[in-house]
Amino acid sequence: MLVLDKINAGYGSAQILRDVSLEAKPGEILCLFGRNGAGKTTIMKAIMGLVRTTAGVITLGGQNISRLRADQIPKCGIGYIPQGRRLFSELTVEENIEAGLLVSNGGQVVKQRVLDMFPPLKSRLDQQAGTLSGGEQQMLATARALAIEPKVLLLDEPTEGLQPSMIEQIRNVVVQMRDEGVAVILVEQRVDAVLSIANRVTFIENGYSRETLNASVLNSDKSLLDKYVGV
């Protein structure tokens, strides 16, 4: 289980996160909802060690990972699909997946497994990642993160700019990961696209973590969505 306990973090002297606490359990999807600038992406970066925490503790399976170097975090089993995909654009599709395999040492078996999840990538292994379509890039970003064989998967706005059929495919993979016991933390602006697959939802507001609810509560009562996400 990934636990954030009263995390403070920010960029330079600008503090963004204040006493953020949340838990992601194996086999569940935790959605983080909040307005633009609420601090959702910074939470992801803080977990990955890309933003230094100034207070609080992040633990994974009881192990404190908040003082580890950023390159040690994925070795603990945390996969990251950042906002905007951030592929290694000049590397080929195959090389991007191999970058994920650097952590897992899973070799051909894992590579074949992630390619089976995204068949369109199989015919584009030698193509530069930056030349793929938006949907294919999202597939590759997901495949690259899954090549780590993560215990925890962080997805930041995975449906951004995608057509409905592609959103459905990404949703299916996320659900499959959840069903295989992976703890998923999903940041998404489009509440309607992911609420149906979420198990729990934590609202983020002005750098604070507010209420955490079962997703079923929100499906029947949308008032909290209006409060924290509405414009």
């Binding site: 060690g49 950023a70 390159d71 070795k75 590397l91 970058a99 650097l102 780590i148």
Partner: protein, 308 residues
């Protein structure tokens, strides 16, 4: 001598210069491409390679081939370790800030140069080449009986100069394979493209930086070991190669290895040809003018990508 034989000599001399310049410039370009560090001390790593080659040759003695082979291994290795240590102890601590790294590498430049002056002295010292067979090159002339072959006086080269060109080509090919086909190369390219994401996939970018800085300096040192049997080792010999390497890297495109190689061959050959037919100073003036034109009309260099 006629134009043709002179051109052959110019091409041979230019090729030797291009070969060594390619090694130096590729090292500089590699460091900038992966780390975004403008290494002003790069010329001093070249100089240190030459001085260490002399030191190894003097210490080992015996047949020149033995000491030369040892110098080829020891000098780049020591210079690479020194550069990696400089990265860890200095550049990493200033977070690779662009302005601060320029100042820091100027400091490294003077430390290496003055330490060399104190320990090695101001003299230029030769290193004996491992082999140096001189051979003549034939040329053709048109006579009443048609074309006939003859051996113009002065048209020739040495086996060592040809070895320098072949060795540089072999090193560049090996480097290319290492970057494009190995796991270490993948880590290097991923770090170059996106440092944060590289870390998010377990790549230790600090270690990659130290290795790249070391490899870049080792390439310059290797170029120096190759050239020192032709040029002699001197504590001020790092200035001109640094200037030429910057010219090459700017023309080729900062961080672009193919661009650097093409530009190094072009600048090396043109430098050789202009130096033979006109004057070495004119060659440097034209190279600098070319850089000015590139900066005005194509600031990203011939092979670089424009920043949007």
């Amino acid at each position: 001598m006629e134009f043709g034989p002179n051109l052959i000599i110019a091409l041979i001399e230019g090729s030797v210069q291009a070969a060594v310049l390619t090694l130096i410039a590729v090292g500089l370009s590699l460091v900038f491409g992966v780390m975004r560090v403008v290494n002003v001390a790069h010329g001093e790593f070249f100089m240190l390679g030459a001085v260490l080659a002399w030191a190894v040759a003097s210490f080992v003695g015996g047949h020149p081939a033995v000491s030369f082979i040892l110098a080829l291994i020891i000098a780049p290795l020591l210079v690479g370790i020194l550069a990696a240590a400089a990265d860890i102890l200095i550049l990493k601590r200033i977070n690779y800030d662009p302005e601060n790294t320029i100042v820091a590498t100027i400091g490294i430049l003077y430390i290496i140069q003055q330490m060399t002056l104190i320990t090695y002295g101001p003299d230029a010292r030769p290193v004996e080449p491992p082999f140096n067979h001189r051979f003549s090159i034939p040329w053709f002339e048109y006579t009443e009986q048609g074309y006939s072959m003859y051996w113009p006086w002065g048209l020739g080269t040495t086996s060592y100069k040809l070895f320098v060109v072949a060795a540089a080509v072999a090193v560049i090919v090996l480097l290319w394979l290492a970057i494009s086909r190995t796991k270490a190369g993948l880590m290097m390219r991923a770090t170059q493209l996106d440092r944060d994401m590289a870390q998010s996939f377990g790549i230790p970018v600090d270690r990659v930086n130290a290795i790249v800085f070391g490899v870049g300096a080792a390439l310059a040192a290797l170029g120096a070991v190759l050239i020192v049997p032709i040029q002699q080792a001197h504590y001020l010999m790092g200035g001109e190669p640094l200037l030429l390497a910057f010219i090459v890297v700017i023309i080729g495109g900062l961080g672009s290895l193919p661009g650097t190689i093409v530009a190094a061959v072009f600048i090396g050959l043109s430098d050789g040809i202009i130096s033979i037919f006109f004057a070495p100073t004119l060659a440097k003036i034209l190279s600098t003018l070319l850089v000015a034109f590139v900066l005005i009309f194509r600031p990203q260099g011939l092979f670089g990508k424009a920043v949007r």
